[in-house]
Amino acid sequence: MTTADELRNKKQTYFDDVTIGQDMPPLVIGPMTPTHLFRWSAAIENWHRIHYDQSYAIYHEGLPNILGQGSWKQSILPRYLKDLCLPDGWPWKVSFQHRAMIVPGDTITVWAQVKGKRKVDGLGFVEMDVGMRIQPDTETCPGTATIVLPIRGGRAIPYPFVPPEGA
C-alpha cells in the first residue's frame, strides 16, 4: 500500500521517462476481507446483499462467497492512475470491464503497462493497458487508460483539463 508521505513527496514521472512496454509501478491491495467489502457497502449505502450477507450470497444466489463490488473496483483504478500522475499529470480516461469476481481472501495487484505514446498540442499522452489482477494470475478488470504527463521543458498541463483537439 502507498503511504500518505509517499504521495506527499512523489516525484513527477515525465512523458520522456516512459517507454512502450514499460510496466508502471503496481499498487497491491489486500488480502481483502468481508470487513473491507462491508465498509464499502456502508460508505456508499449500497445494500445489495451479495456483498455482505454470506448466507444470502451462497444459498440464495448460488455464488461462491460474497463478492467485491464493481463500484469499488471502478474507484480503485482512477485512484491508481491519479497516483501515477502526481503531482502535475492528469489521469484523463479509463475504461474497463468486470470479469472475474473478487472474493474475501484475494490480494489485488493494480497494474498498468505502456502501449503507446503521442504528443498532442505540447502535452504527452500515454496509452496503457490496465487491470486488477488477483492471485495467482487472474485478471478481474481488464481495460485501457490514457494519462497525460508533462514533457520535460514543455508546457504545464492545463487544469481543469480540457482535452486538446485530436487527443
Binding site: A43, P87, V94, Q97
Partner: protein, 188 residues
C-alpha cells in the same frame, strides 16, 4: 451470445438517447470532510490532498480535492427524514436482494425512466470514466444522465439479456464538468 435482438422491444429501443433532468447529486451543503474521509478510507487512499489543508494549498489544485468518482456516490444516499428504504423493501419482499425496491430509479424524480422489461437482475458489465477536474470541498454537484445505448442479446443458454449503457455528466455549481461516467450493465 448471439446477435438476436431478443428482449430489445420497440418500447425499450425508444429509450435510447433519452436524457434525464439535470439533478442535484449532493446534499445542499455540498461535499464535506466527513463524507470524504469515509470514502477515501474505503478505497484505502491516504493521499494528503484529501485531508491536509496546508499541504493541499501548495498543490496545483490550491486546496482540498476529492476523488472525481466520489461525485457519483454522494447523491445516492438516503436523505434524513425519508422513509427507510430498507424497511420498505423488505416489507414489500421479505426475500429482497437489498437493492430491488431500495433503489428503484422510477421512484426518484427526474431520474431516467425505468426500462420496461421483466429482466430485473442487474450485473455490472463495465465502465468508462473521463476526468476533467477534481471536485473541491463545498462543491455542490449536479448530474445529468442519458441512455447512451441499449442492446438485446440471447445468451448461450438461451436466456435473454439486455446490455444497458448510461452516460452521466457530473458538474459543479458553476457548470464546470468534473467527470463523465459511462456505465454498462447486464439485465438478466
Amino acid at each position: 451470445m448471439s446477435e438476436q435482438s431478443g428482449p430489445l422491444t420497440d418500447e425499450i429501443r425508444a429509450l435510447i438517447g433519452k436524457t434525464a433532468e439535470r439533478l442535484p447529486a449532493s446534499p445542499p451543503w455540498g461535499i464535506e470532510r466527513e463524507g470524504l474521509r469515509i470514502f477515501t478510507n474505503s478505497i484505502m487512499d491516504p493521499d494528503p490532498r484529501y485531508w491536509d489543508d496546508e499541504f493541499a494549498k501548495t498543490t496545483k489544485f490550491g486546496g482540498i480535492i476529492t476523488p472525481p468518482i466520489y461525485v457519483s456516490y454522494i447523491g445516492r444516499k438516503t436523505p434524513a427524514g425519508a422513509e427507510d428504504p430498507i424497511s420498505r423493501a423488505f416489507r414489500e419482499n421479505p426475500e429482497s436482494d437489498g437493492i430491488g425496491g431500495v433503489r428503484d430509479q422510477g421512484r426518484q424524480p427526474g431520474a431516467l425512466p425505468p426500462i420496461p422489461t421483466p429482466l430485473k437482475r442487474v450485473l455490472n458489465a463495465g465502465n468508462e470514466i473521463e476526468l476533467r477536474s477534481y471536485p473541491k470541498l463545498g462543491d455542490c454537484i449536479f448530474s445529468q444522465a442519458r441512455y447512451a445505448d441499449i442492446k438485446g442479446r440471447i445468451g448461450k443458454d438461451g436466456s435473454p439479456m439486455l446490455i444497458v449503457t448510461t452516460e452521466t455528466i457530473y458538474t459543479n455549481q458553476d457548470g464546470e464538468v468534473l467527470c463523465i461516467l459511462r456505465a454498462s450493465g447486464f439485465r438478466r
